[in-house]
């Protein structure tokens, strides 16, 4: 890959503040009360990105066998705690999310390396793993939230199914189906319109960095399909592992955490 040729200078970066002032002004005129939030998010995002920039520079200089496990491990831990927020009342949610992410990242990384799609270099594995872990984290969070609301909204149907003699697995079949559907559909839609509605971030970055579009597309395909499959696996993992905690050992419907 070619090195990034154009460079955004610090002065140019400073003018990005205009993009912050616009929502700030909107919030002020329409009394949205988002001013503080907008400022804090912009500030936090900038600091986070610069921090990760310096960390990545340091990690990329480390031997791959140290830098990759270290950063991927940190990403998995942070993603686990973040996704857990969506289902903290459910027992064992933390280990389930952690194991799912570990499994998904492990499988994807193995595929990349075995089939020579990606080199075992921090500069390649870390950003791509970040995308896989991040998307899986969002999908698991979505799945947990959706599952909780489906159980709440379908209480009567679940009682009806149980009263007819259904096992918890049979009674919650529809809920599991809807949860997986809701968690996967944004990803399916994204894949359907890839390249038509928007050029994906990674591909855009590579093209801006001077890489041939066809080469950029190949990388994008690797990452898009990896995300597609890891999101499906992680949403399925967390849904199938967690639905049973809405029932007790007597096959009665319960409010998890009670």
């Amino acid at each position: 890959m070619n090195a990034l040729t154009p460079e955004v200078s610090n002065q140019s970066l400073f003018f990005l503040i205009i993009f912050v002032i616009i929502p700030l002004t909107l919030s002020y005129f329409y009394q949205l009360g988002l001013g503080k939030n907008v400022l804090w998010s912009a500030f936090r995002g900038t600091v986070q990105l610069f921090a990760i920039g310096y960390i990545l520079t340091y990690l990329f200089d480390l031997p791959a066998s140290v830098g990759i496990p270290l950063m991927v491990g940190i990403m998995i831990i942070i993603a686990t705690f973040h996704a857990r927020q969506k289902g903290k009342e459910l027992p064992y949610v933390l280990p389930v999310i952690f194991v799912s992410l570990l499994f998904v990242e492990g499988s994807v990384l193995t595929m990349w390396l075995v089939f020579d799609m990606v080199q075992f270099r921090p500069s390649e594995v870390i950003p791509m793993s970040g995308m896989v872990i991040g998307n899986s984290m969002v999908a698991m969070g979505l799945a947990l939230e959706r599952m909780k609301s489906e159980f709440r909204d379908n209480n009567g149907r679940l009682l009806a199914a149980l009263s007819l003699g259904a096992e918890p697995k049979q009674a919650s079949h529809l809920i599991v189906q809807r949860t997986l559907h809701a968690a996967l559909i944004p990803n399916v839609d994204r894949l359907k319109t890839i390249g038509l509605v928007q050029l994906p971030g990674m591909m855009t970055g590579l093209i801006l960095g001077g890489v041939e579009p066809v080469m950029a597309i190949k990388y994008q395909l690797v990452i898009s399909l990896s995300i597609f499959s890891s999101v499906s696996i992680s949403a399925m993992f967390v849904t199938l592992a967690m639905y049973r905690y809405f029932f007790n050992k007597n096959k009665q419907l319960i409010e998890p955490g009670d």
């Binding site: 149907r157 009682l159 009806a160 199914a161 149980l162 007819l164 003699g165 096992e167 009665q252």
Partner: protein, 228 residues
Amino acid sequence: MFRFEKVSQDPLVNLTFTIEKNEKVILFGPSGAGKSTLLYLFNRLSEPDSGTIYFNGKPIIEYPVTKLRKKIGLVLQAPHLFPGTVLDNIKYGPSLFGEWEDKNAETLLEYVQLPSSYLHKDVSHLSGGEEQRVSLARTLANSPEVLLLDEPTSALDYQTAEEIEEVLEGLIKEHEMTMVMVTHNLSQARRLGDRGLFIMDGTLQEDGTIPDILDHPKNEKLLKFIEG
């Protein structure tokens, strides 16, 4: 058939009574008295905090729970049909046990006075009364020994409620079946039940034949309830 021995589960306290086979029992009492809770205890959708419930002489906890629920059918206040057709709903219970036979479908619809053309109708196109009939047919499809009814007409308009009541009356007369029904409607209780249990403040206040307890209530609280 059923024996409740010192059964407690909020708000119910120390309930003890027996229900014989083929009895038609009406549970009544003010809202929040624990009538629905009591129905859920019958087929183990809920567990008592203390006490024992016997079914055919054996504690219900000794039965495999799914088989027990199949024997003790429950019709909920709202129909809560599953997405799909009327047939999908009716065959749901028996299919769980590998016992469904297509030839039963029309008979079940006949029980609830729905034409057989309804079998392949999507449940989203049914009226409230039709939904409740399908819910009833869905429960009957399991051939339960006991039918539990949780205010099955309370969410329906007067005319539809009367139609469902007719269906129930026909079913009760035709089939030898034990029935336990929760209702606020005293005239419905007179028509469908032969024994009444009046529950208030979590306890069984009065137990007797329907004409006896409705026409000659001994309990002050029951008298107030009847006078409404």
